[in-house]
Protein backbone atom coordinates (compact mmCIF):
# COMPACT_ATOMS: atom_id res chain seq x y z
CA UNK A 1 0.00 0.00 0.00
CA UNK A 2 1.34 3.42 -0.87
CA UNK A 3 2.03 5.81 1.98
CA UNK A 4 2.99 3.48 4.83
CA UNK A 5 5.84 4.32 7.19
CA UNK A 6 7.91 2.63 9.88
CA UNK A 7 7.44 -0.72 8.18
CA UNK A 8 11.22 -1.08 8.14
CA UNK A 9 11.45 -0.34 11.88
CA UNK A 10 8.78 -2.97 12.46
CA UNK A 11 10.62 -5.42 10.21
CA UNK A 12 13.83 -4.75 12.13
CA UNK A 13 12.06 -5.10 15.47
CA UNK A 14 10.73 -8.55 14.57
CA UNK A 15 14.17 -9.54 13.26
CA UNK A 16 15.90 -8.34 16.43
CA UNK A 17 13.78 -10.61 18.60
CA UNK A 18 14.64 -13.60 16.41
CA UNK A 19 11.64 -13.82 14.10
CA UNK A 20 11.72 -13.99 10.32
CA UNK A 21 9.47 -11.21 8.96
CA UNK A 22 8.54 -10.52 5.34
CA UNK A 23 7.09 -7.46 3.66
CA UNK A 24 3.73 -8.19 2.05
CA UNK A 25 2.22 -5.75 -0.41
CA UNK A 26 -1.55 -5.44 -0.84
CA UNK A 27 -1.07 -6.58 -4.42
CA UNK A 28 0.49 -9.83 -3.14
CA UNK A 29 -2.87 -10.50 -1.51
CA UNK A 30 -4.87 -9.20 -4.44
CA UNK A 31 -3.11 -11.44 -6.97
CA UNK A 32 -2.91 -14.36 -4.53
CA UNK A 33 0.89 -14.44 -4.64
CA UNK A 34 1.01 -15.39 -0.99
CA UNK A 35 -1.10 -17.39 1.42
CA UNK A 36 -1.76 -15.58 4.69
CA UNK A 37 -2.34 -18.86 6.55
CA UNK A 38 1.39 -19.62 6.25
CA UNK A 39 2.27 -16.66 8.47
CA UNK A 40 2.36 -16.37 12.26
CA UNK A 41 1.46 -12.72 12.72
CA UNK A 42 0.37 -9.65 10.76
CA UNK A 43 1.66 -6.15 11.45
CA UNK A 44 -0.09 -3.22 9.78
CA UNK A 45 2.31 -0.27 9.82
CA UNK A 46 1.62 3.38 10.38
CA UNK A 47 1.81 6.15 7.85
CA UNK A 48 -0.58 8.03 5.64
CA UNK A 49 -1.91 5.30 3.39
CA UNK A 50 -3.37 6.70 0.16
CA UNK A 51 -2.59 10.16 1.51
CA UNK A 52 -5.10 9.65 4.34
CA UNK A 53 -7.65 11.04 1.88
CA UNK A 54 -11.32 10.75 2.86
CA UNK A 55 -10.37 9.57 6.40
CA UNK A 56 -7.17 8.16 7.81
CA UNK A 57 -6.88 4.48 6.92
CA UNK A 58 -10.20 4.07 5.17
CA UNK A 59 -8.86 3.36 1.67
CA UNK A 60 -6.28 0.88 3.01
CA UNK A 61 -9.06 -0.77 5.03
CA UNK A 62 -11.45 -1.11 2.09
CA UNK A 63 -8.74 -2.52 -0.17
CA UNK A 64 -7.58 -4.93 2.49
CA UNK A 65 -11.12 -6.05 3.22
CA UNK A 66 -11.87 -6.37 -0.48
CA UNK A 67 -9.01 -8.83 -1.02
CA UNK A 68 -8.63 -10.63 2.27
CA UNK A 69 -11.35 -10.09 4.84
CA UNK A 70 -12.14 -13.81 5.14
CA UNK A 71 -8.45 -14.74 5.40
CA UNK A 72 -7.95 -12.09 8.07
CA UNK A 73 -10.95 -13.37 10.01
CA UNK A 74 -9.59 -16.92 9.86
CA UNK A 75 -6.24 -15.58 11.06
CA UNK A 76 -7.97 -13.81 13.90
CA UNK A 77 -10.11 -16.82 14.85
CA UNK A 78 -6.98 -18.99 15.08
CA UNK A 79 -5.65 -16.61 17.74
CA UNK A 80 -2.75 -15.34 15.65
CA UNK A 81 -1.58 -11.79 16.37
CA UNK A 82 -2.87 -8.96 14.16
CA UNK A 83 -1.27 -5.71 15.22
CA UNK A 84 -2.04 -2.29 13.81
CA UNK A 85 0.05 0.68 14.82
CA UNK A 86 -1.02 4.26 14.18
CA UNK A 87 -2.46 4.21 10.65
CA UNK A 88 -2.63 0.43 11.05
CA UNK A 89 -4.89 0.97 14.06
CA UNK A 90 -7.09 3.25 11.97
CA UNK A 91 -7.22 0.50 9.34
CA UNK A 92 -8.33 -2.08 11.92
CA UNK A 93 -11.13 0.15 13.19
CA UNK A 94 -12.23 0.96 9.65
CA UNK A 95 -12.40 -2.75 8.74
CA UNK A 96 -14.43 -3.35 11.91
CA UNK A 97 -11.88 -5.83 13.29
CA UNK A 98 -11.64 -3.48 16.26
CA UNK A 99 -13.47 -3.46 18.56
CA UNK A 100 -14.63 -6.59 16.72
CA UNK A 101 -18.13 -6.80 18.13
CA UNK A 102 -20.06 -7.19 14.92
CA UNK A 103 -19.66 -9.59 12.05
CA UNK A 104 -17.57 -7.60 9.61
CA UNK A 105 -18.31 -3.93 9.89
CA UNK A 106 -18.60 -2.80 13.48
CA UNK A 107 -18.08 0.91 13.59
CA UNK A 108 -18.55 1.77 17.23
CA UNK A 109 -15.12 3.36 17.37
CA UNK A 110 -13.38 5.84 15.15
CA UNK A 111 -10.08 7.70 15.32
CA UNK A 112 -10.92 11.35 14.85
CA UNK A 113 -8.68 14.43 14.44
CA UNK A 114 -6.68 15.38 17.54
CA UNK A 115 -8.17 18.01 19.84
CA UNK A 116 -5.10 20.15 19.27
CA UNK A 117 -5.82 20.11 15.52
CA UNK A 118 -2.13 19.36 15.12
CA UNK A 119 0.15 16.53 14.17
CA UNK A 120 1.52 15.45 17.58
CA UNK A 121 4.97 13.94 17.13
CA UNK A 122 6.83 13.41 20.41
CA UNK A 123 7.10 11.21 23.49
CA UNK A 124 4.41 10.44 26.03
CA UNK A 125 3.73 7.59 28.45
CA UNK A 126 1.35 4.64 28.33
CA UNK A 127 0.35 2.17 31.03
CA UNK A 128 -1.04 -1.28 30.37
CA UNK A 129 -4.58 -1.58 31.69
CA UNK A 130 -5.62 -5.12 30.80
CA UNK A 131 -3.99 -8.53 30.80
CA UNK A 132 -3.31 -9.46 27.22
CA UNK A 133 -2.09 -12.84 25.98
CA UNK A 134 0.31 -11.27 23.46
CA UNK A 135 1.96 -8.87 25.87
CA UNK A 136 2.00 -10.74 29.16
CA UNK A 137 5.53 -12.07 28.53
CA UNK A 138 7.23 -8.70 28.38
CA UNK A 139 5.08 -5.92 29.72
CA UNK A 140 3.54 -5.31 33.14
CA UNK A 141 0.27 -3.82 34.28
CA UNK A 142 0.25 -0.28 35.65
CA UNK A 143 3.87 0.47 34.75
CA UNK A 144 4.31 3.70 32.75
CA UNK A 145 6.31 3.18 29.56
CA UNK A 146 7.91 6.00 27.62
CA UNK A 147 6.80 5.78 23.98
CA UNK A 148 6.75 7.95 20.84
CA UNK A 149 3.49 9.12 19.27
CA UNK A 150 3.15 10.65 15.81
CA UNK A 151 -0.34 11.24 14.52
CA UNK A 152 -2.95 13.84 13.62
CA UNK A 153 -6.01 11.59 13.85
CA UNK A 154 -5.68 9.60 17.04
CA UNK A 155 -8.56 10.73 19.17
CA UNK A 156 -10.67 7.72 20.02
CA UNK A 157 -14.36 8.47 19.77
CA UNK A 158 -16.97 5.93 20.74
CA UNK A 159 -20.54 5.89 19.57
CA UNK A 160 -22.93 5.63 22.50
CA UNK A 161 -20.06 5.99 25.01
CA UNK A 162 -22.11 5.30 28.13
CA UNK A 163 -22.75 1.78 26.95
CA UNK A 164 -19.75 1.04 24.75
CA UNK A 165 -16.98 2.44 26.96
CA UNK A 166 -18.25 0.21 29.76
CA UNK A 167 -18.39 -2.71 27.34
CA UNK A 168 -14.74 -2.12 26.39
CA UNK A 169 -13.79 -2.02 30.07
CA UNK A 170 -15.88 -5.04 31.03
CA UNK A 171 -14.34 -7.07 28.17
CA UNK A 172 -10.81 -6.03 29.15
CA UNK A 173 -10.38 -4.46 25.71
CA UNK A 174 -8.76 -1.22 26.90
CA UNK A 175 -5.16 -2.27 26.56
CA UNK A 176 -3.18 0.94 27.14
CA UNK A 177 -4.05 4.38 28.45
CA UNK A 178 -1.95 7.49 28.06
CA UNK A 179 -0.57 8.46 31.44
CA UNK A 180 1.72 10.78 33.31
CA UNK A 181 5.30 9.60 34.06
CA UNK A 182 3.93 8.43 37.41
CA UNK A 183 1.28 6.28 35.75
CA UNK A 184 -1.82 8.27 36.58
CA UNK A 185 -4.28 9.49 34.01
CA UNK A 186 -3.44 13.01 32.89
CA UNK A 187 -4.95 15.38 30.37
CA UNK A 188 -3.07 17.07 27.56
CA UNK A 189 -0.15 16.82 26.81
CA UNK A 190 0.06 13.28 28.24
CA UNK A 191 -3.06 12.38 26.35
CA UNK A 192 -1.88 13.80 23.02
CA UNK A 193 -5.17 13.71 21.15
CA UNK A 194 -8.08 14.00 23.60
CA UNK A 195 -9.01 10.30 23.40
CA UNK A 196 -11.98 9.34 25.53
CA UNK A 197 -10.82 7.93 28.86
CA UNK A 198 -7.22 8.51 27.67
CA UNK A 199 -7.33 5.31 25.61
CA UNK A 200 -4.15 4.69 23.61
CA UNK A 201 -4.73 1.09 22.52
CA UNK A 202 -7.51 -1.45 22.39
CA UNK A 203 -7.77 -5.11 21.53
CA UNK A 204 -10.55 -7.39 20.37
CA UNK A 205 -12.29 -9.57 22.95
CA UNK A 206 -9.73 -12.39 22.64
CA UNK A 207 -6.82 -9.97 22.84
CA UNK A 208 -5.03 -11.12 19.69
CA UNK A 209 -6.06 -8.16 17.52
CA UNK A 210 -4.36 -5.06 18.86
CA UNK A 211 -4.57 -1.48 17.68
CA UNK A 212 -2.36 1.17 19.19
CA UNK A 213 -1.65 4.75 18.27
CA UNK A 214 1.89 5.01 19.74
CA UNK A 215 4.88 3.51 17.95
CA UNK A 216 6.74 0.76 19.88
CA UNK A 217 8.75 -0.05 16.73
CA UNK A 218 10.32 3.42 16.88
CA UNK A 219 11.86 2.82 20.29
CA UNK A 220 13.44 -0.61 20.32
CA UNK A 221 16.85 0.04 21.85
CA UNK A 222 17.29 1.73 25.22
CA UNK A 223 19.96 4.02 23.80
CA UNK A 224 17.33 5.72 21.67
CA UNK A 225 15.34 6.42 24.84
CA UNK A 226 15.10 10.08 25.78
CA UNK A 227 16.72 9.50 29.17
CA UNK A 228 18.32 6.12 29.62
CA UNK A 229 19.27 6.64 33.25
CA UNK A 230 15.66 7.34 34.10
CA UNK A 231 13.80 4.90 31.89
CA UNK A 232 15.98 1.82 32.24
CA UNK A 233 17.95 -0.50 30.02
CA UNK A 234 15.10 -2.09 28.09
CA UNK A 235 12.98 0.17 25.90
CA UNK A 236 9.30 -0.31 25.24
CA UNK A 237 9.77 -1.69 21.72
CA UNK A 238 12.03 -4.50 22.86
CA UNK A 239 9.51 -5.49 25.52
CA UNK A 240 6.63 -5.33 23.07
CA UNK A 241 8.19 -7.38 20.29
CA UNK A 242 9.87 -9.88 22.62
CA UNK A 243 6.52 -10.57 24.21
CA UNK A 244 4.87 -11.15 20.84
CA UNK A 245 7.64 -13.57 19.90
CA UNK A 246 7.10 -15.48 23.16
CA UNK A 247 3.38 -15.72 22.40
CA UNK A 248 4.03 -16.99 18.84
CA UNK A 249 6.55 -19.58 20.04
CA UNK A 250 4.33 -20.70 22.92
CA UNK A 251 1.34 -21.14 20.62
CA UNK A 252 3.43 -22.87 17.95
CA UNK A 253 2.27 -20.52 15.17
Amino acid sequence: MEGTNNEYEAFQSFTRVGLDPEFIHLNDLRFKRIDLSEYSAIFLPGGFSAGDYIRAGVIFARRLADTSLQDLKRFQDEGKPIIGVCNGFQVLTETGMLPGWGDGISREIVLAPNDSSRYECRYTFITMEARNPLLSHGMSLKIPYLIPVAHAEGKIRIINPDKNLKKLEDNNQILFRYSTPEGSEGGYPWNPNGSISSIAAISNGDGNVIGLMPHPERLFYHYTNADRSRYGEVAVGQRFFTSIREYIVMKGF
Binding site: I54, R55, V58, I59, R62, E94, R107, E108, I109, V110, A112, P113, N114, D115, S116, S117, R157, I158, I159
Partner: protein, 81 residues
Protein backbone atom coordinates in the same frame (compact mmCIF):
# COMPACT_ATOMS: atom_id res chain seq x y z
CA UNK B 1 -23.94 11.17 -17.80
CA UNK B 2 -25.28 11.87 -14.27
CA UNK B 3 -23.22 13.97 -11.92
CA UNK B 4 -23.89 13.55 -8.22
CA UNK B 5 -22.43 15.49 -5.36
CA UNK B 6 -21.89 14.12 -1.86
CA UNK B 7 -21.43 16.49 1.07
CA UNK B 8 -19.89 14.97 4.18
CA UNK B 9 -20.06 16.90 7.44
CA UNK B 10 -19.58 16.23 11.11
CA UNK B 11 -22.60 15.27 13.20
CA UNK B 12 -23.85 17.93 15.61
CA UNK B 13 -21.84 17.81 18.84
CA UNK B 14 -18.71 16.37 17.22
CA UNK B 15 -15.80 18.72 17.65
CA UNK B 16 -14.41 20.04 14.41
CA UNK B 17 -10.82 21.07 15.23
CA UNK B 18 -10.29 22.63 11.81
CA UNK B 19 -13.38 24.81 12.21
CA UNK B 20 -12.35 25.80 15.74
CA UNK B 21 -8.91 26.85 14.50
CA UNK B 22 -10.40 28.81 11.61
CA UNK B 23 -12.88 30.57 13.90
CA UNK B 24 -10.18 31.47 16.40
CA UNK B 25 -7.98 32.97 13.71
CA UNK B 26 -10.83 34.84 12.03
CA UNK B 27 -11.52 36.51 15.37
CA UNK B 28 -7.83 37.45 15.67
CA UNK B 29 -8.10 38.97 12.19
CA UNK B 30 -10.98 41.14 13.37
CA UNK B 31 -14.02 39.26 12.03
CA UNK B 32 -15.86 39.63 15.33
CA UNK B 33 -19.35 39.00 13.99
CA UNK B 34 -18.72 35.36 13.13
CA UNK B 35 -19.98 33.11 15.94
CA UNK B 36 -19.62 29.64 14.45
CA UNK B 37 -17.71 27.85 11.70
CA UNK B 38 -18.36 24.40 10.32
CA UNK B 39 -16.38 22.55 7.69
CA UNK B 40 -17.64 19.96 5.24
CA UNK B 41 -16.12 18.02 2.42
CA UNK B 42 -17.67 17.82 -1.00
CA UNK B 43 -17.13 15.05 -3.57
CA UNK B 44 -18.47 15.04 -7.11
CA UNK B 45 -18.93 11.88 -9.18
CA UNK B 46 -19.66 11.58 -12.88
CA UNK B 47 -21.10 8.13 -13.51
CA UNK B 48 -22.08 6.06 -16.51
CA UNK B 49 -25.64 4.74 -16.71
CA UNK B 50 -29.06 5.83 -15.58
CA UNK B 51 -29.65 8.29 -12.77
CA UNK B 52 -31.27 5.87 -10.34
CA UNK B 53 -28.43 3.32 -10.66
CA UNK B 54 -25.89 6.12 -10.36
CA UNK B 55 -27.58 7.44 -7.26
CA UNK B 56 -27.60 4.02 -5.65
CA UNK B 57 -23.90 3.49 -6.45
CA UNK B 58 -22.95 6.86 -5.00
CA UNK B 59 -25.13 6.23 -1.95
CA UNK B 60 -23.23 2.97 -1.34
CA UNK B 61 -19.84 4.69 -1.73
CA UNK B 62 -20.93 7.51 0.56
CA UNK B 63 -22.22 5.24 3.32
CA UNK B 64 -19.46 2.60 3.17
CA UNK B 65 -16.37 4.66 2.41
CA UNK B 66 -16.83 8.42 2.53
CA UNK B 67 -18.64 8.57 5.86
CA UNK B 68 -18.05 7.10 9.25
CA UNK B 69 -21.44 7.19 10.96
CA UNK B 70 -19.82 7.58 14.37
CA UNK B 71 -18.83 11.15 13.57
CA UNK B 72 -20.19 12.07 10.16
CA UNK B 73 -23.30 12.33 8.02
CA UNK B 74 -23.73 12.84 4.30
CA UNK B 75 -26.21 14.19 1.81
CA UNK B 76 -26.53 13.55 -1.93
CA UNK B 77 -27.36 16.13 -4.54
CA UNK B 78 -27.90 15.53 -8.24
CA UNK B 79 -25.83 18.18 -9.99
CA UNK B 80 -26.66 17.01 -13.50
CA UNK B 81 -29.20 14.26 -14.20
Amino acid sequence: MPVIRVDVEYLPGVEDPEAITILKNLKILGYDTITETRTAKSYEFRIEGKLEEARSTVDEIASKILTNPVIQKYSLQVVDP
